[in-house]
Symmetry: C2
Amino acid sequence: MKKIPVAMQEVIDNFERLPGIGPKSAQRLAFYLLSVPETVTDDMGEAIKNLKKKIKICRECFGVGEDELCEICSDSSRDRKIICVVERADEVMAIEAVGNFKGVYHVLGGVINPLEHIGPEDLKIKELIKRIEVGGVEEVILATNPTIEGEGTALYIKKKLEESDFKGKISRIGSGLPMGAELGFADQVTLSRAFEGRREMNV
Amino acid sequence: MKKIPVAMQEVIDNFERLPGIGPKSAQRLAFYLLSVPETVTDDMGEAIKNLKKKIKICRECFGVGEDELCEICSDSSRDRKIICVVERADEVMAIEAVGNFKGVYHVLGGVINPLEHIGPEDLKIKELIKRIEVGGVEEVILATNPTIEGEGTALYIKKKLEESDFKGKISRIGSGLPMGAELGFADQVTLSRAFEGRREMNV
């Protein structure tokens, strides 16, 4: 016996496709939308329909933007001598939210993960090497996540850069205890990284 | 510095309006949608836009349907002598999913909650009394949730029914330990309810 109206079921099915949203949450969200004014559902539906039409992948850094070249790559005040390599486009936004980094980015589109059949050729690594071969780059910051796959991908890119004729600096983002953490609760790898990455204090 | 493209920010803002979805989840969902084929975002946007246009509130039970009268209220095989009173329309679906109940429903649209300024007049209680006054109803099952507000609302409706000329049975859904629960972990109210609601075993 199916008593959920079709129009409702369609919304539920669509929400269920989203990561982290199960059948119960999807139903709750659909019922919530029933309770809001129609302008809200109209706006939301329109925004979702427009998303893939309006967003373009930047041909330089493979981040997201509304043009062929994203806002960062087309900004002449950014320092093209430093490239920060990240896994995904949302990480660009996380770094931009801090606002300290003035260089440009390169979005790999993932990490090397043999278990999920993702090899180096599935990522934008060749494109990174190509960008660097054009010249002018002085530092590549490898900012893949400090996970097994992220570390492996960083090592792979480091090797590829060394094999190329890149003569600049290759760096890796700092690893250690996050702000607010407690030594007693940190895992061993994090603790050992925190010691390896210690810096002299200059008061 | 704002580097999130407008079309993306619009989707993020819309997701953030949904209950239980914070800024980080909203961003993650928007980036997920970037990775799916455009037909998926088209379908999803269309389904959300159609929701409030196609779904109607049933004029009899105040549940959801695609017509003036919902599928249950317009089903002649349902037993109109038993009305099950619930708080919200999604609870109708939960009960329908079990498939045992053959009566009809009445959706209150919430519970009496003085802290949130929701009084009896904000709920469909008058409409319930009116339905019963037409006659033919033999039992009203009060299936509001076993919370403080749900219990209070059930008591209020019971009083109103007794004040009316309703001569049928007024019952309350069973309360006690849920399946799979353990006595040792149950709270005191649930345990005492489980004892009050004990039934003779007929093997």
